[in-house]
């Protein structure tokens, strides 16, 4: 190790935002041609560090070295030219441009005088790159027509086109189906074989152990450890990332009661058809299946948030399908959408307003809002659910993803809804917050609530669900009993993928 200089060296990197220390003297090295995972809770400093590497932030102190050379990118563009490519969680794709135009975004081959783009050169160059990725994408297709996985491939092709020596992948698997994740892993391995160093950020520890050769843990802006993957294990990583040990999820045995939610031959044209299931009081039902199998649509349909739904939804004495979320709420259904930022929180508004959004009358007196009372209610909720916020009056945008998600849960937990539907409640949430959210879900079931959880993460499905309903291509194909937590990932995957598609 001593004779070759590391691909990347971070030396005492520091960064503050106002009074908040985001990075407090982080130092570690990344070898050439490896997958190097970076693990830590939200707010641990991963994104800040990657933004400094990618040139969109300047450090307050410390140094970066790339292959022994001092690295001081002043802009994202300059970082790219130096060989550092960052694929962010939110993809930067221009949906109305073609695949080829997106691969060479802003660097289209063109004639000097006229500025006319040389379309043929552009497309053949893009074709060559896509072939290297073994991606059967046609360069002329509009990028907006592709699914997220293929859009991600465009970004990786873009990184290749710039001869990146370092590729940063920020939570790339969060939006992918298991099969797409496998394909991504194959590509990542091939890139490292060619000498590219991949910095891989993920909350999913299974992936870290499957893919990475080295792992760095950050906590509260500080470097905790950098080890070879063979020198650590799951429990160690969690303990280092969270700063305490997190109990593996094991709910007390539950005894389901009466039927709280009955769904019969529910259909929504083009999304799912003939879905029937029921959930009892004190029971957690997990909806599993691949992305696009109709899980989220079913969840939204039950909550009245999908138009054109036919069939029967029954909550206590109330019959649906409900025509609006408002109707569903009145019938006793709570719902948290999967797109936290787009459909969940009011980012610019205060934590208090976010908490009280579903129960706006909670602190009114003769039609007027009592502000002091609202603050008290909000503070009480923050305390009760251990939500980490500077105060009830700060903007929701200042909270970490995990705490934003807990705000959404707390918003509905103000009242005891008989039916709670959570769509991807722990997506992009760190290990500690995930355990807390699981505990909140258990508490709902313990007080007799019926819970439906949609999740793409199989370990979560297996740990949370008393029963697991598996969807495939808009149909509910099977419901597995999991009271003993005996169902395996393979069983669920086989049902989710189906016989034919399971062939490699």
């Amino acid at each position: 190790m001593v004779e070759t200089p590391p691909r990347l060296r971070f030396t005492d990197v520091r960064k503050r935002f106002g009074g908040v220390v985001a990075l407090d003297g982080v130092s570690f090295e990344v070898c050439p041609g490896v997958v190097h995972a970076i693990v830590g809770e939200n707010g641990a400093g991963k994104s800040t560090l990657m933004n400094i590497l990618g040139g969109s932030l300047r450090p307050d102190g410390g140094q970066l070295h790339l292959d022994g050379q001092v690295l001081e990118p002043r802009s994202a563009r300059q970082a790219q030219q130096l060989g550092i490519a960052v694929v962010h969680q939110e993809l930067s794709i221009a949906p109305d441009l073609s695949v080829a135009e997106n691969v060479f975004l802003g660097r289209w081959p063109h004639r000097r005088g006229s500025g006319l783009v040389q379309k043929r050169a552009l497309e053949s160059a893009a074709q060559a790159l896509l072939a290297r990725l073994r991606t059967p994408l046609s360069p002329g297709v509009r990028a907006g027509e592709l699914n997220v996985a293929n859009q991600q491939m465009i970004e990786i092709a873009r990184a290749l086109s710039m001869d990146a020596r370092v590729l940063v992948l920020d939570e790339p698997s969060a939006v992918l189906t298991p099969i797409e994740v496998e394909r991504l892993f194959a590509i990542v391995r091939e890139l490292t074989a060619r000498g590219v160093s991949v910095l891989y950020i993920s909350h999913r520890l299974e992936e870290v152990f499957e893919l990475a050769q080295a792992v760095t843990v950050l906590r509260d802006g500080k470097h905790v450890s950098t080890r070879s993957i063979t020198d650590t294990d799951r429990e160690t990583l969690i303990r280092e990332a969270v700063g305490r040990s997190v109990a593996t999820h094991r709910p007390a045995a539950r005894t389901p009661g009466d039927i709280a939610l009955r769904v019969e031959s529910l259909s929504a044209p083009g999304r799912f058809a003939d879905v029937s299931f029921e959930v009892r009081r004190g029971e957690v039902l997990c909806l599993a299946g691949l992305v696009g199998s109709g899980r989220s649509s079913v969840a939204r349909a039950v909550f009245g948030a999908l138009p054109g739904v036919r069939g029967l939804v029954q909550v206590g004495p109330m019959h649906g399908p409900f025509r609006s979320p408002r109707d569903a709420q009145r019938a006793g259904v709570a719902f948290i959408p999967e797109d936290r930022k787009g459909e969940g929180v009011l980012l610019e508004r205060s934590v208090r307003e976010n908490l009280l959004l579903a129960h706006r009358h909670a602190a009114t007196h003769r039609g007027l809002v009592r502000q002091r009372h609202e603050r008290e209610v909000a503070r009480e909720l923050l305390r009760e659910h251990a939500i980490r916020a500077a105060s009830s009056e700060v903007a929701a945008a200042t909270l970490s993803g995990g705490n934003q998600q807990k705000v959404l849960l707390a918003r509905w937990l103000m009242r005891d809804y008989p039916v709670c539907i959570f769509d991807e409640p722990t997506r992009g949430v760190d290990v500690g917050a995930k355990a807390e959210i699981h505990a909140m879900i258990d508490a709902i079931a313990a007080r007799g609530g019926a819970v439906v959880v949609v999740s793409s993460e199989l370990p979560e499905v297996l740990a949370l669900g008393d029963r697991i309903a598996v969807m495939r291509r808009g149909r509910l194909v099977a419901t597995l009993s999991n009271m003993e937590r005996s169902v395996t990932q393979e069983e669920v995957m086989r049902l989710a993928v189906g016989g034919v598609e399971a062939m490699p």
């Binding site: 709420q329 980012l347 009280l356 809002v369």
Partner: protein, 330 residues
Amino acid sequence: MKRSVWRTVLSARMPIILVVLVICATALTEGRFARTDNIVNVLGQVSFQGTIAFGMTAVIVTGGIDLSVGSLVALTGVVAALVMQALSGAIAPWLAITLGVLAAMVSGGAVGATSGAVVARLSIPPFIVTLAAMLMARGAAFILCNGQPIYELPAELRTLGRGFILEPWFGRVLPVPVLMMLATYALCALMLSRTVLGKEIIAVGSNEKAAWLAGVPVRRTKLFVYVLTGVLAGLVGAVHDGKLMAGDPKVGEMWELHVIAAVVVGGTSLFGGRGSMTGTLVGVLIIGVLNNSMNLMQVEWFWQNVVLGGVILGAALADAGLRRLHGARQ
């Protein structure tokens, strides 16, 4: 440290600017600006557009816009004049005036309800919907009175447009239209900051989908803000008849832009989700003080336009600066 000073200055920028403007205006006009009769004059000038500005603030906070308000002032003014003309002589003049004002508010509210329903139900951009309403309302105003202003109005209407509250005791200090503006401000400020409806307006403008999924009646909320603005435009249309002593289909041209300008200068974000009625009151006053002091200094009107445009741009830049400071952690 430096950043927090900037933040304070930017947050409180508009009241500060207003005070600075008043001081400058007084100095530059050798005290003429600060005379009571001139201050009363300034308030009187801004009261009509100012009243509408509070409804516009609610619309803009939901993320919408209403371009029809100027035309609505003309249309509702003509409606009020027609009602009063038809009834005067038949019933007591004050009753005729009351009915005229009500007719104006109802017709303004009806147009607002139509725009609001189209915006809320069919998700057509409010810019287009209210642009259409603006053209149709202006046309309707001319059609209703055959293009001729209506002058046969009860003499008592003058009190509404040009009278003063409690004149025998206080003298000519509080014009009726100014009372209208201040009362509207008080009610709208209470509505936006202290009622559930106000919270819903803010929530819809901040993140419409999130609000909907939390059970906020999004359509009803949107409908409400357009009806409110239409009703206020109707009230202004009728009272403005009293100022002119005529129902004139040509009034209110470009008012929508001046009203929007006052709202924006008052710090309400055109992206929705952020704004305040007090800010709008300050914005209205800033523009009134600027116009008045430039008049007193005999600045040519075309220069006045240049200055006004600059102020609006400045307000937008300050807003962008504030956003950047707030977003510094991103």
